[in-house]
Each structure stands twice: as structure tokens, then as C-alpha cells.
Symmetry: C2
């Protein structure tokens, strides 16, 4: 029987999660089967269960891996002794880097989270809302600091998060710019738009 | 047999298209059946066919209705004797208004167009690309006019279109701001971010 390819820097479970993210993104969670996943990983279906529990556990793992990564990052940024504009800039850059680097997992967390079972569905919704609230808080403080214009902070957060999420569509095109240009242009666009 | 409710301002076909958009959005095009549509419209399935051809024709109608509406609008705006910043502002406002007004149809055009059959699939892709090209052209002229900063016009267009498209997620929330605040804040955010 074929073995799951793993190496020094990536465990068998990580290989499975990576392939599951690609599969859930391409086929959609509902249509994807553990048999499809076994084919993608290159093993027989039963041997997958040595490493993971079920399809729905895989979705949970992907969604909360992504969600917690963003939450942990914003927790660190909040504590930095920088301006609120700098904090928002750091967070936008992180979003863009993650979209370019962990695209499949973020796509699944953004689109397929609706298939999470309870209590994970509600937990994930709460995680997203709390994440949004933290960003709204940073913008609110920036408004009272006069760093940002007098805007509705929720609308500003929706604008920023949606713009960054739109990088999904970039994957369709061959682009004539570097990732660094993309990051700098988007950050400037989204930050200069609200700065005093 | 029940009759399709129509009135002075809305034809039977328009009622069917409106209900089809809601259905395709909620269930997804693939999972939605003509039987579901008949239930939504409140008639027997066979009588739908007095007004429309097939499920795939309905998807075509919705996608090209939306696509052509945006294209026609940008064609008009291009000819106006205003600055390029004003033109981009007018277009962003139109996008936001349409997202709030024709939400279901735009959602279907954005998400379900992949199910279009050829030649409609390719035609729709070309329509979208041409629309993007027109916006890129407006930004490019604005850059040479020194109205806009020296940015990558494609990245600016992706940022604007993605941000506006993100209004999809607003429908989940009860919001404490008016549509006018939403429109003004987003326009200012997205336009001030690239203005010289």
C-alpha cells in the first residue's frame, strides 16, 4: 500500500489537511468524499483513518486553524506599541500574505464553514464576529485618536476585509505585478482611504 | 390552477426571474429544480414553461441581465464630461445601489455563472473581462491626468470591485447605519485611497 508522503517539515496529518483543503475548495465540501481525498493523498481510503477522524473533523480542523491564526495574530498586534493606523496596516498585510500563502485553507474557511456541525458552526461564527469586533475596536480608537476620519468603523472593516478577500479572484489571472506590489498597493489604497 | 401574480409594473416573466434568482441563491443553481421554482412562484411546474424555456435559460437571463446592466451603465459614464475620479465615484455608487437593490440577481451572477453552458459561459467571462478593462482604462487615464496616484490600475480595480461585492456579507447582520451612510463611507474610503 502506498505511504503518505511526509517529510521533516510536514507531518502526515498536515499533508492530509493540505489535500483536503484543495479538494473541499475544488469540489465543495458536500460533494467531496473520503475516497476522493484518499486518491489525492495517494493512499487507500481506510489508511486515512489512521491519521484523521472524519470528513467533518477535517473541515473543523481547517476552519479553526485559519480562524485561530487570524485571532492569535490580531491579539499580538493589539499589544504592540504602535499607532492604530500601523496596527491596521500590519493586519491588512497579514491578510494579504495569508491569502497568497494559505489560499486553499482560507477559501475553505470562507466558503465551506456553513457545513460545520454544531457546536462548531456557532463557535466559528462567534470567532469571526469577535475577530471583526477587534478590528472595529482598532478603527474606533483610531477615530478618537484623530488618526482616522470620522467614519462608521463597521463599514470600514467590511470594506477592508472584503477587498482583501477579493484576492480569491486573482487566482484566475496571470498577473503582471509582484506580490509585493499587490500588498503595497492594496495597503495604501485601504489605509489612505480612511486616514485623516 | 393558480395564476402567476403579476401587475402593471412587473410581468409574469419578471416574477419568475425574481423567484429564480432567490432560489438559485438559496439552494445553488445545481440543486434547484423547476419544481422548486413552481412552488416559489405558486403555480404548477408545467405552466412555468408558458413563460420561460428551461432552468439553464433562466440562469443565462439572470447573468446577462446583470452583466449588461453594468456594462450599459459604464458606457454611459465613460461619455460624461466629468473627471475620472468622478466617473469612478459614479460607478462605485451604482455598484453599491445595485447590490442593495438587486441583491439576489447579482449574487447569482457572481456565484452561479460557472454553471452557464457554452457559448454563454465564455460570453459571460468575456463580458466580465471587458467590464474590468473599462474600469482599468478609467483608472489609467486618471493616473496620467494626475487625478490618481501612480498605482497598478488592475490592483485598484480588484480592490474596489471586491470591497463592493463584500456587501453580500452585510445581509447577515442587522446594521445600525443607513444605506446612504454605507454608500458615502465606502465611496470615500475607496476613492480617497487612490486620489492624488
Amino acid at each position: 500500500m502506498a505511504k503518505i508522503k511526509s517529510g521533516k517539515n510536514i507531518s502526515k496529518q498536515e499533508v492530509i489537511i493540505r489535500e483536503a483543503a484543495i479538494l473541499f475548495k475544488t469540489k465543495g465540501y458536500s460533494a467531496a468524499s473520503m475516497r476522493d481525498l484518499a486518491v489525492a493523498v495517494g493512499v487507500e481510503a481506510p489508511s486515512l483513518y489512521n491519521h484523521i477522524g472524519s470528513k467533518s473533523e477535517l473541515l473543523q480542523t481547517i476552519c479553526f486553524k485559519v480562524g485561530n491564526e487570524f485571532m492569535d495574530y490580531v491579539d499580538i498586534v493589539e499589544k504592540q506599541s504602535s499607532t492604530n493606523a500601523e496596527k491596521i496596516e500590519t493586519i491588512i498585510r497579514f491578510h494579504i500574505k495569508m491569502m497568497l500563502q494559505d489560499f486553499n485553507e482560507i477559501f475553505v474557511a470562507n466558503h465551506e464553514w456553513k457545513h460545520l456541525k454544531e457546536p462548531y458552526f456557532t463557535d466559528f461564527l462567534v470567532l469571526r464576529r469577535n475577530y471583526e469586533k477587534k478590528l472595529i475596536g482598532l478603527i474606533e480608537t483610531g477615530i478618537s485618536n484623530k488618526e482616522f476620519k470620522s467614519i462608521n468603523p463597521y463599514i470600514a472593516v467590511i470594506t477592508i476585509l472584503s477587498a482583501v478577500r477579493g484576492l480569491e479572484f486573482l487566482h484566475r489571472h496571470k498577473n503582471n505585478f509582484t506580490n509585493q506590489t499587490l500588498e503595497n498597493d492594496m495597503v495604501n489604497h485601504l489605509l489612505n482611504g480612511i486616514k485623516q
